[in-house]
Structure formats: structure tokens, C-alpha cells
Amino acid sequence: MKADFDFCPMQSREPILRKDKAMIELVGVSKSYAKGKVKAVDDVSQSVKAGEIFGFLGPNGAGKTTTIKMIVGLLQPDAGSISVAGIDVQKEPLAAKFRIGYVPDQPHVYDRLTGIEYLNFLADVYQVPEKLRKKRIEHLLDIFNIKDAIGDLVQSYSHGMKQKLALTGALLHNPPVWILDEPMVGLDPRSSFLLKDLMAEHCRQGYTVFFSTHILEVAERLCDRVAIINKGKIIACGTLDDINKDHEKETLENIFLELTE
């Protein structure tokens, strides 16, 4: 499978996608555990457009991570279909993976590799050209301020540093769709601020960020649209204004509490 970098070239930062195009599309997605006894995700349909920062909210065990894992191809839905950047995740998983940058809630990093070995491994499997990878990695390392530690074994990193390394690894192939599960956890305020900035910049270029969070203020400030999931079902979705109108509450926190009670 050859990497298709033309769709998100590093040099060209102009938006190349139409604003109305669905970058993430879930249609009737369901997932159960324990032989169908526990419905983790129940008939979810959702569309996220290009140029959108989409916040995915919900209480613990609501189905957020299961949904995210299905979008990135880690879990297979029992029913329904998922596409990313127009590509069916089940039918063409590799093509979809090239277009996704995923950061899980617990960073997936090899403790016994050095930071740079880990990043080079990812750059190799995502087939990032040599010049581009240097530029991109250095840029991201500067942002997250871990350049000095990159020659050390990951096992010597703090949790926050591992999270920053995982973020760098997920973004270095400049994917059009970022899927971030609780990305702010473990980050210091500066890195958190810079990540939010990166997310906004990514969307300004016409790309998409889909992220889950428990920090409602972040969702309020950053997201174009949010969805609230509870017991596997989407119970509210839209811009913050839309949701406010529907529920006649002042803050997202109050709406969240009311809906997930």
C-alpha cells in the first residue's frame, strides 16, 4: 500500500477539502459485549464535516472509547458502517489508517525504544519521506518541548512526555482526520494550550478533529459541534447554540448533567 500524501501535503497548507464533505461518517453503528447482553454502542449515526472540531462527550462507560476504537479500526462494529475521508474503514482499513492520526487515552508507546526510534518507526510505516519527516518531527517536538529527551529510552519519560510523544507520532504523517481520546490528560498547561491551537489550525485548513473529553470548558471553547453519548446512544448533537436552545440551560455543564442523569 503506497502512502497517498498528495491529499495532505506538508508544504501546501491550503484547504483542499470541501467544507460540506463528511470526513467521518457513522451509519447505524452498534457494538455489544458479553454475547449481546451489554450494548456499548447502540445504533449510532453521526457525521463530522471537513473543517470541523467535533467534541464527543459522555459520562464514563457511555460508549465514547468504543465508538472511537471502531472509527480507527481497533474494534469491528456488529452492525453499521463507518467511513473516514470517504473510505470505508471495514472494507479498506489500510487506506483509512493513512488518513487518521489517533491518540488513545493511554499513550501507546514502546518503553524500550528511544523517542526518536519510535517516531522513525511510525514515519517508516506511514511512509513519510525523509526530508518531510525531519521537518515535521522537529516542528512537533518543538511545540511539545520534548526535543531534548528524544534520544532517551521512552521508559524514562513521564506520563506527560509519553503523551506528547504519542501525539507527535500520531500527527507526523499530517493526517486529515485527527481522532483524539482525552488528549489533554497528562499535558502541562503550555502543551495543552499549544495542542488546542494545533487543533484549531488543523481545522482552519479544512481538516477535521474528533476528540473526546471530560473537560467541558475545553469543549465549549474549542468545538464547532458536540455530541453527547449516554448508554451507547447519542442523546444530543449540534452546535452549542443549538443545544442551549433545545435545553434552555446556560452552560454545557448543566445540559450535560441533565441529559446524563
Binding site: 501507546h108 517508516d124 510505516v125 529527551a149 534520544g151 532517551d152 524514562s156
Partner: protein, 553 residues
């Protein structure tokens, strides 16, 4: 005591995956063939080694009887088993003690270091009962049967059976606690781990030297002669390793006051050893446990052009396999000793007993029956079956297998990288045996070429079979890396399957010997094994393509 018991319960549940098994096999009733296959596999291995141990114990008992000291079988067994456990389980102790994933969680709880240490020690101790079942039960039974003893013996033997692992495990634990307490970083912790493995390896080689220095085939009678010249055996050994004699006397004199006194001595010593370990552990255990947890301050600068050089995804995957294997001491030290120890064990008889003439006398047979040379391939294949790399090819990644599911490289290509890396390591590990055999048996280059190709193909079969087993039942949910390679049942399965494969191949060789000349037989065999190897190679790729994304971690 209550917190310790709670911890003990959780530690056992977690380590042996009891809750997971309950859920999977009893509630969901999924993959029920797995426990059945495990019981059959373990049963087969246990019966095999148990019978060997029974034979040896019987021989030893008769020697003891002739010397008028029938308890000899017990004393020697106690000493041998203690050494065996000490040597082979010091690595397990380090892994269980220091490389668990729940270190931070436990340290944050209101538990003393000795609680954590005690729970982990109990874990290792219970794991030893399976070993003892094979090694200690036969001598205990032979002595019971031979001496016609009663219920008191059974009771005391059960007590000693349960307490016995303390004797070798506590010194191993104390040694590892003291060594690890000096570690100041994770890197040094890894170095110490490797060092401990090397020491135990050297001890194993030393014991093999001693065993081989006894005249071959007459070990028992030479032992008898040695004992007669050195005076009373029991007191002789008793002076160098008293607990063995206390345990033996308590059993031999079961029901008498002297027997009880000896049991008292034995139990007091074991209690004192445990107390010593707990006291030391309370002081030093956490030092080693959290060495290197702090973030490194000295950073190594990386700015060479090599740093940014691009590799193909396949090469990147090979490199990942290689680095993770080399940098995880537990993985490395479960494989490397096989490459070192087997050739050394082959050489020891030649060095200590001058058996070279026996090898020379074998040459005419090889010329007359060239099929015998295939024994080298068989031996290499058997050894490859004991290397735990292929049956843990996927499992070794643990929970980070998720990353392999996420990267945009086809499972087919990922499994290819695993296959080639494992094949190289397996073949390199068996290569010293091959080279040594070629040199010792004065084989021609043509022989070497044919046998080499055959071995490579056969090792390829074993490698693919190992990966196939691991693809069917990968074990990602391990807490410490030791569990991925040593306590992984897949390792046992590949050993069994490689033995079955060898038995089938031996049958085919006999058939070929009867109907075709050796050169044609070799060629046909090569064609067959290479075809199986190639077939399996493609099979593991198609299975990976089918299964990779369905593994739910």
C-alpha cells in the same frame, strides 16, 4: 493480616488470570477447546517427566539401600531440586518482583513493602508446585513404597512438599533484592537482570560439568563408590546442606521424637529464611522496584543524518522486533541460553570424558547409513521447538499490539516481518549445534549444504507453526514480560507439536530408507519439508489478514 490476604487474593487472580478464565470459559463459554488442550498438553509433559523422575528415583533408592542408607534418595533429591529451582527460577523471581505493571498502584496503597513482596513471593512459590510434582513427588513416593511407611509419613511428606520451595527461592529472592536495590536506573535494572541470568547459566553449566565427570552410564554406581570412600553419606551431605538432611530424617523417622525434632529444625529454618527475606524486603524492596521511575535528566543529543534515514515498512517492522527483543532482558534471556547452553552441553562430555574416540568410531556408521545424519536436522528442529519466540510472536507485544492494529501496514506484511525475524533468531540459535555436528562428524560440504537446507526448512516449519498457534490464541494481557514467553501455554504447545512433527518425519525417513537411495531420499525430504514450510508461510499470512483486526484488547 487482612490487607495482605486481600492483596494475595488479587495477586493470584491477576497473575493467573483466574477472573478472565472464569468469564471466558464459564460465563461466555468461549474457546472451550483451550483449557482442554492445555490440560492434555500439560498432562502429557507431566507424565513424560514424571516417569523419567520415577526411574531415576528408583535407581537412587536402590543405591541407598545397598549402602544401608535408604534415605539417600530423599537427601539427594532435596539437594538437586533445591539447586534446580534456585538456578532456573531466579529469573522468574526478578520478573515477578520487579517488572509487574501494578507497582505504582500497590505502592500508593496503605500496604507495607513486605506485603507486596510476600504476595509476589507466594506467587512464585505456588508456581513451583508443578515442578515439584514432577521432581519431588517421585522420590517421596518411592521412599514411601520401599520402606512401607504409614499415614504419619504421608502427612509429613505433604508438609515438606508445601514448604520446600522456600529453601531455594528465599536465597534467590534475597540475592535479587540486594542486587536490585543497587540499581539506580531502569537500564541498570536490565543489566542486573541479565547478569543474574548469566550467573544462573554458569551454575547450570558447572553442574553439567560435574555430572559429566561421573563415568557415563555408571553414575549411580560411581556415586555409590564416591560415597563409600567419603564415609557416612547422610552426615557428609548434612554438613554442607543441613536442611536436606533434616527433611530426610523427619520423613525417615516419621512418628518418632527424633523425626519431629528434625521437622522442627527444618520448619524453623524455613520460617527464619522467610522472616529474613521480609525484613530485608521491607527495607530494600521498594528501592529496586522504583529505580529509574524518575524522569531522566541527562539527554542524549541525536542529530545525525542517520537519525532521519528512511526505511521500508518491512525493515522498520524487522527493526522493531529486533530492538524490543534485544532490549527486554526477559525475552533475550529465555532464548539466548538455548544457543549457548546446548552446544556447551554437547562439548562437555568430549572435554571431561574424552569421548572423542566414540564420535570417531561413529564415522563408519554414518558412511554406511547416511540417513543417520538426519539426526542433526532432527535435533535442530527439536531445539527450535523449545525456543519461545515464535509461539509468542504476537503475544510479546502485549497491550501495545493495538499499535500494530493501528499502523497502515497490512497484517500480511506484519506477520512476514515476524516470521523472518523469528526464523533468523531460531536458526542462529540452532546454528552452533549444526556447525559443531558438521565439525565433529567430519561431514562433507555437500552433506553440510543438504543438511543446512533441510534444517532451515524444518526450522521454518516450526517457526510458522509457532506463529500459527500464537495467532489462534494470542496472550496480550500479561502483567510482566516473563508471562509472555515462559508462562505462555503456546510455548508448551509448540514443543508438543514439534515432537509430533519430528515423529512423523522420522517415520517418513524410515520409509525413504527402505525404498530409495540416500541422495534421492534427502532430496525428496527437502522437497517435502520445504513445501510444508512454504505452505505454512502463506497460511500464517492469510490467517493474519483474517484475524489481526478482530483481536480485541
Amino acid at each position: 493480616m487482612k490487607p495482605f490476604l486481600a492483596l494475595l487474593k488479587v495477586t493470584f487472580r491477576n497473575y493467573f488470570g483466574i477472573s478472565v478464565m472464569k468469564q471466558k470459559y464459564l460465563v461466555e463459554k468461549k474457546d472451550l477447546w483451550q483449557p482442554i488442550a492445555a490440560v492434555v498438553g500439560i498432562g502429557f509433559i507431566l507424565v513424560f517427566f514424571f516417569s523419567m523422575s520415577m526411574m531415576f528415583s528408583k535407581g537412587l533408592y536402590y543405591v541407598g539401600q545397598m549402602l544401608g542408607e535408604p534415605a539417600l534418595v530423599l537427601v539427594i533429591s532435596f539437594i538437586a531440586i533445591a539447586f534446580f529451582i534456585f538456578i532456573f527460577d531466579i529469573g522468574t523471581i526478578i520478573s515477578v518482583f520487579y517488572f509487574g505493571r501494578d507497582n505504582e498502584l500497590l505502592a500508593a496503597l496503605p500496604l507495607k513493602p513486605l506485603h507486596v513482596l510476600g504476595a509476589r513471593f507466594s506467587l512464585v512459590m505456588v508456581s513451583q508446585y508443578l515442578v515439584q510434582l514432577v521432581l519431588l513427588l517421585p522420590p517421596l513416593f518411592i521412599f514411601f513404597q520401599g520402606e512401607g511407611l504409614g499415614a504419619a509419613y504421608i502427612f509429613l511428606a505433604s508438609v515438606i512438599f508445601l514448604v520446600f520451595p522456600v529453601l531455594p527461592l528465599v536465597p534467590a529472592a534475597v540475592l535479587s533484592i540486594l542486587i536490585m536495590s543497587k540499581a539506580r536506573s531502569k537500564r541498570i535494572k536490565d543489566t542486573f537482570t541479565i547478569l543474574t541470568y548469566v550467573i544462573s547459566l554458569a551454575l547450570a553449566i558447572g553442574i553439567q560439568f560435574f555430572m559429566q565427570s561421573l563415568p557415563q552410564g555408571e553414575e549411580l554406581s560411581s556415586l555409590e563408590a564416591m560415597l563409600q570412600t567419603h564415609g557416612a553419606l547422610l552426615s557428609k551431605i548434612g554438613s554442607s546442606f543441613p536442611p536436606a538432611i533434616w527433611a530426610a530424617k523427619s520423613l525417615a523417622m516419621a512418628g518418632s521424637i527424633e523425626g519431629l525434632l528434625n521437622l522442627g529444625l527444618f520448619l524453623s529454618l524455613t520460617a527464619a529464611l522467610v522472616a529474613l527475606m521480609l525484613v530485608l524486603g521491607n527495607k530494600y524492596f521498594y528501592r529496586g522496584l522504583f529505580a529509574g521511575e524518575e524522569v531522566a535528566k541527562k539527554h542524549r543529543v541525536t542529530n545525525s543524518t542517520k537519525t532521519w534515514s528512511r526505511s521500508s515498512p518491512f525493515k522498520a517492522l524487522l527493526l522493531r522486533e529486533h530492538r524490543l527483543f534485544l532490549r527486554t532482558p526477559v525475552f533475550l534471556m529465555n532464548v539466548l541460553p538455548i544457543a549457548v547452553i546446548v552446544p556447551i552441553f554437547m562439548l562437555i562430555p568430549l572435554l571431561t570424558q574424552g569421548s572423542l574416540h566414540e564420535v570417531v568410531s561413529f564415522y563408519p556408521f554414518l558412511s554406511k547409513y547416511p540417513y543417520l545424519k538426519l539426526g542433526i536436522v532432527g535435533f535442530m528442529t527439536f531445539i527450535a521447538g523449545t525456543i519461545p519466540l515464535s509461539p509468542s510472536a504476537l503475544s510479546r507485544e502485549g497491550k501495545l499490539f493495538t499499535l500494530s492494529q493501528l499502523i497502515p501496514v497490512s497484517p500480511r506484511e506484519q506477520i512476514r516481518a515476524k516470521f523472518w525475524y523469528t526464523l533468523i533468531v531460531n536458526f542462529v540459535c540452532t546454528l552452533p549445534i549444526f556447525v559443531l555436528s558438521i565439525i565433529l562428524l567430519h561431514l562433507t560440504w555437500l552433506d553440510a549444504l543438504m543438511l543446512g537446507l533441510l534444517s532451515l526448512s524444518a526450522v521454518g516449519v516450526i517457526t510458522s507453526l509457532g506463529i500459527l498457534i500464537d495467532s489462534e490464541r494470542p496472550y496480550f494481557d500479561w502483567e510482566d514480560p516473563q508471562r509472555a514467553v515462559k508462562n505462555n501455554l503456546n510455548v508448551l504447545f509448540i514443543m508438543l507439536i514439534s515432537m509430533i512433527f519430528l515423529a512423523i518425519m522420522a517415520g517418513i525417513c524410515v520409509g525413504l530408507y527402505l525404498i530409495v537411495p540416500w541422495w534421492l531420499g534427502y532430496s525428496l525430504l527437502l522437497l517435502l519439508v520445504a513445501s510444508i514450510s512454504a505452505g505454512l508461510y502463506f497460511r500464517i499470512q492469510s490467517i493474519a489478514e483474517r484475524k489481526y483486526r478482530y483481536y480485541e484488547l
